[in-house]
């Protein structure tokens, strides 16, 4: 049976790319902008670009904040993408301090504006970077069947800093700075990069999520 994948529409981002990529990997995505749509979904994707506070305000306005927490409690898989991943954490320091969904312990902080050698580097971090799976998470089902040195497309100025090291599924390296690329706790997953814009590698990650 085809799984119902709800893509949360709270007024931000390029949702067409996410839904097209999902269709491409053989599922039926449905845009969902209220709590009811989440109740029957087998999988939920929380996309998003832009500022953290705007994203959370968008969820609140659509009555989705509690609905997402309730969905997470059911044990069914949830995937946050980019800002959607960052909102899974407790707080963000972007433009003051803001409360997130609190589904993965930790905070969202600015990417250091220099590399490990203290030489300034470009922010936002834009482009393709290699996934570096954590040794303890090498078997994570989201990373199944990826090629060696799989690279994915990032565009962001802030990054997730999970409080529990075990929740860091994969990082990437930006001039010697480790950036969390994939985070996860039980049925809650997050990708800092855009799987829907990461070519065949990204499509495989979406396929893995749908098949969880």
């Amino acid at each position: 049976m085809t799984k119902t994948v709800a893509v949360i529409d709270y007024g931000v981002g390029n949702l067409l790319s996410v839904t097209r990529a999902l269709s491409h990997v053989g599922c039926e995505p449905a845009l969902c902008s209220d709590a009811r749509g989440l109740e029957r979904a087998d999988r939920v994707i929380l996309p998003g670009v832009g500022a953290f506070a705007d994203g959370m305000a968008g969820l609140d306005r659509h009555g989705l904040t509690e609905a997402i927490r309730r969905f997470a409690d059911t044990g069914r898989p949830l995937l946050g993408i980019c800002l959607g991943m960052q909102m899974l954490l407790d707080t963000s320091t972007e433009f003051g301090s803001n409360e997130g969904l609190g589904l993965i312990p930790g905070s969202v902080i600015a990417i250091p504006n220099t590399g490990a050698d203290n030489v300034p580097h470009k922010i936002p971090h834009i482009g393709w970077n290699r996934l570096l799976p954590a040794a303890a998470n090498i078997e994570n089902p989201l990373l199944k069947d990826l090629p060696e040195s799989a690279s994915v497309y990032f565009v962001h100025s802030f990054m997730a800093d999970p409080a529990t090291p075990a929740h860091r599924v994969a990082d990437c390296d930006y001039d010697g700075r480790r950036i969390s690329a994939v985070i996860g706790r039980d049925n809650i997953h997050g990708c800092q990069f855009h799987p829907e814009k990461s070519g065949p590698v990204g499509l495989q990650i979406l396929r893995n999520f749908v098949n969880l």
Binding site: N14, P120, H156
Partner: protein, 253 residues
């Protein structure tokens, strides 16, 4: 630094992929979607669609091309040409664009950059600068695909655009564009080392050595190529392999 991005740039006129020399003498190449698909499959890191006459005629015909491209191309898509308002941006993003590229309308009203950045985020605002070298060694901004000069200094404008929320700069040298004689390295380095955001070098790529120079000497964060791909002088896979061989950091496919 991050991996250098290898970007295929597709200039569009009406339904066609076109190519000119110094942004003039446009020749029809073919169906843009077919080329976009081919570049995606050959491992392009991103695509740029630029409607080169949209500013001139005040129309925006790219939406349909973007919509169809986004059906089977799963890499970032930047779209420019004729964008005048936040509403234009919304329409393009909803059609499948990830970023929008502005030149003429941003020069006319710089606050437009800020309005778009506030609404959709800086990550989707690419400032397109069409630069022409002046006799005193600086560069002047042009608009309307290299037709109109503005008396605005390229470096000043780049710095101002960063403050207004531009997230990237597509920097095209009108002098070099379509000549296959290499990028304007001084121009690229001057802008790239002065702004904190990524700079995409555009205009003049004839061979791999030009790409290497744009990155190593020009400090470009990404390179846009058109002619070399459209006329099948080199394919994206070969360019990536050669870039790697030359010591550039590029994505492994």
């Amino acid at each position: 630094m991050a991996n250098i991005r290898l970007i295929a740039r597709l200039d569009i006129k009406g339904p066609n992929l076109i190519k000119g020399v110094r942004l003039e003498g446009l020749r029809v190449i073919g169906d843009p979607q077919e080329y976009a698909r081919r570049y995606y499959e050959a491992g392009a890191d991103e695509l740029i669609y630029m409607d080169v006459v949209a500013s001139l005629y005040g129309r925006n015909s790219l939406t349909e091309i973007v919509r169809h491209t986004a059906e089977n191309v799963f890499i970032p898509l930047t779209v420019g040409g004729g964008i005048r308002s936040v509403e234009d941006v919304k329409l393009l993003l909803r059609s499948g664009a990830d970023k929008v590229c502005l030149n003429t309308a941003a020069i006319a009203r710089p606050e437009l950059l800020q309005e778009i950045a506030n609404r959709f985020g800086s990550q989707c605002v690419v400032l397109s600068i069409e630069a022409k070298r002046k006799s005193n060694g600086s560069w002047e901004c042009y608009t309307d695909n290299g037709r109109e000069h503005t008396e605005r200094d390229v470096l000043d404008w780049a710095k101002q655009a960063v403050k207004l929320g531009a997230g990237e700069i597509l920097l095209t040298s009108i002098d070099q564009e379509g000549t296959r004689k290499g990028f304007d390295i001084d121009l690229i380095r001057t802008v790239s080392t002065a702004v904190p955001i990524p700079v995409i070098a555009s205009g003049g790529m004839g061979g791999i050595d030009h790409l290497v120079a744009a990155v190593q000497d020009g400090k470009a964060d990404a390179v846009a190529m058109a002619d070399i791909l459209h006329y099948k002088r080199k394919d994206m896979l070969a360019i990536r392999a050669a870039a790697k061989q030359a010591g550039l950091s590029v994505r492994s496919l």
